[in-house]
Amino acid sequence: MNTETLQHPQGAAAGQTHAHDTVESVSGLSPKALHYSRVFELFVVAAIIMLFAGAIHLHVLLLAGDWDMFLDWKDRQYWPLLSPVVMIMFPAALQGIFWTYFRLPIGATVGATCLMVAVSISRPASFMWWTDYPLNLVLPAQMIAGAIVLDVFLLVFRNALFTAIFGGFAFAFLFYPSNYTIFAPFYVPVSHQGMMASMADLIGYVYPRSATPEYIRIIERGTLRTFGDSASWVSALFGGFICIFMHYAWWYLGIAMSSMKFLPNNAKVMALMGTKADVKASA
């Protein structure tokens, strides 16, 4: 293909700025090249959705596990703490990549949306259609609210550190209120066998999960319950504090993972890889 046809007719050069410059004009790509670029972007978007929907879903399954999976695990203490700490990892990495290479403040939202897409497929498919559990037993938490705010903080600050401090904190702190609207009906009290239970407890009891006995739930443990009604907010605050560090670490992890590193093609490395006789021996 003739590369000259890919150049923009006006060919904006580095250092020349104009008031009406656009991304297209500055890039110097011709309309044809821009068309090809757009087609390429469609493939990239499709690949990102599939790859990261799967990856983030697996990641949350492994690390947030039952707290995100089951209704009767969504307690006041661990759920608002652990879920955002786990869920910020991939969005932070994606944010780092999208911002560093493209100045796109959408990484966190991409991650949160990918997870939502994945759970929207997996929960009904695995639990409702395959194993006959009611969907309300496995309703997932959403992190889109926190992710959008995280992206907005990046857009405003344009700085990884400040985004981590304010955005990372906001991501976790918004998790509880933005999900409470979904799960509030499941905390209404019911009387069952002469004992009080929340509706979530009752749903967990009525539909047997043979390999998941009640005692396996890690909920409402520790002295944090002495804070009474405010236990969730204390958890949310602490989650926010942890998310500051988590965001910062995963931002740079994302950038590191999207960078290419090559081993130098010298005799030592070749000997190490076994493609050449030992350097010392040959010497």
């Binding site: 796109l104 907005v152 209120p177 905390y187």
Partner: protein, 434 residues
């Protein structure tokens, strides 16, 4: 001119070949997946035979298990009652029953749990500190939900050890799954027509709201040149064309809207549901059943398992501490039942609802059928012989690190009163017929 055209057509041909190969691989994968799906049958049981013998013979011994129905309609309740003994000779490799949960083993929620009790206490939550060597009585009230033939067991889950199942029975559920209803009234008067769908529509609406906001934010950026032009512009140092003041304004407004919806929704939910409770946690204590007044002491002197004959031989010294003469009625272990057909009341020992696949046809053989008189001590040999040892995969206890057996020995007096004694001890394999 011809060379570039040739290269062009060659590369196009390669791409077409690659697409064709990919399509073939996809079709092959889909075909194989479909074939596996067709060839795979539903799981009929729960792998209860795969549990190590020492788990089934020396931990929880279920007895007097009864299913009041074996066929129910959708929404119809049935009851599963029984007792279990926590064996005194508890294996070292198994965690003690310090935290346990009573349940029913079923292939998913084909049936639902209505109520459960341990020694009359509600068993919605777990129990702590059950005692070894003592008996407990359970009751499970279940309800048919999904039509089909389901294998149901009583189940005691022990923290650190896992599930220990009782005798499984096939329960036929008839009707239509769509007819299943679970009505609930909350403590603050909310009438729930069906627990199955409670809160689901509300959750889906909120997911839709958040997804719509995410879609707006993503499309706001995706409609513009996305990757390559932005990357080139950034490398040229023209960050100014990548993010405009309009972008920041839209972002800030969206951020404010998100925060407002989050906290506004939270406040509204608080107003909508003023009385809420946290998830209920913690364990309950339950006392064991009272110890029986009289008992028979059994000391195992010698035990062996005849591998080719599939028979367990036990020689034991038995002392009757009661006031009535007693006969050996039954040896039970791992839900298998070996009944002495010559004992009084042997014909009624196995109830009609007990799973027949767990009853040994050969019964229990004794060296001496003479009743054990009050205060008498005698050495008696008994033989539990049946292919069930092999079918239930209980013979691999010979490979356990501590080759021991355990079980319950039932005695009966002439009035039909039963006495129960725990038996167990080291066992020796015999690889030729005795």
């Amino acid at each position: 001119m011809s060379k570039p055209v040739l290269e062009h057509s060659t590369s196009r041909g390669k791409i077409v070949q690659l697409i064709q190969k990919t399509m073939k691989m996809l079709l092959l994968w889909l075909g194989l997946t479909g074939l596996i799906g067709i060839a795979t049958e539903s799981a009929w049981a729960h792998g209860e035979r795969s549990q190590e013998p020492y788990l089934r013979t020396r931990t929880v011994q279920y007895y007097d298990v009864h299913y009041d129905k074996q066929s129910v309609k959708v929404n119809e309740e049935f009851t599963l009652i029984g007792r279990f003994r926590l064996m005194e000779d508890w294996p070292d490799a198994v965690s003690l029953p310090d935290t346990v949960f009573l349940s029913a083993y079923s292939p998913g929620p084909m049936i639902t749990r209505v109520e459960s009790y341990l020694n009359g206490m509600p068993a919605r939550q777990s129990f702590s500190k059950l005692e070894l060597g003592r008996d407990y009585e359970f009751k499970l009230v279940m309800k048919g939900r999904v039509p089909g033939r389901h294998h149901i067991h009583p189940l005691l889950s022990i923290h650190g050890s896992g599930p220990l199942v009782g005798p499984g029975q096939w329960i036929e559920v008839t009707g239509a799954k769509g007819d299943y209803v679970q009505k609930v009234t909350t403590m603050n008067g909310i009438e729930v027509d069906n627990l199955e769908f409670y809160g689901t529509a509300r959750a889906l609406k909120w997911y839709a709201v958040w997804l719509a906001l995410a879609a707006f934010w993503l499309l706001f950026w995706l409609v513009r040149p996305l990757l390559l032009p932005r990357w080139i512009a950034l490398n040229k140092g023209r960050e100014d064309v990548l993010i405009s003041n309009r972008d920041i304004t839209v972002g800030v407004i969206l951020g404010v809207v998100v925060v407002a919806i989050s906290f506004g929704g939270y406040m509204y939910a608080k107003h909508e549901y003023p009385y809420v409770v946290p998830l209920q946690a913690g364990t309950n204590k339950v006392d064991p059943l009272p110890k029986p007044a009289h008992s028979v002491d059994v000391k195992v002197l010698k035990a062996s398992y005849d591998v080719p004959g599939r028979a367990m031989h036990v020689t034991a010294r038995m002392t009757n501490h009661g006031t009535e003469a007693v006969s050996i009625l039954e040896f039970a272990t791992a839900n298998l039942r070996f009944v002495n057909t010559q004992a009084p009341g042997a014909d009624k020992a196995i109830s009609a609802d007990y799973p027949r696949d767990l009853v040994a046809r050969g019964g229990l053989g004794l060296s001496d059928q003479k009743p054990l008189m009050p205060g008498e001590t005698r050495e008696i040999k008994f033989e539990a012989s049946d292919a069930l040892w092999e079918v239930e995969r209980l013979v691999s206890f010979l490979t356990d690190v501590d080759s021991k057996f355990g079980g319950l020995l039932f005695f009966v007096d002439k009035s039909g009163n039963r006495l129960m004694t725990e038996v167990g001890g080291p066992i020796l394999p015999t690889f030729t017929a005795l």
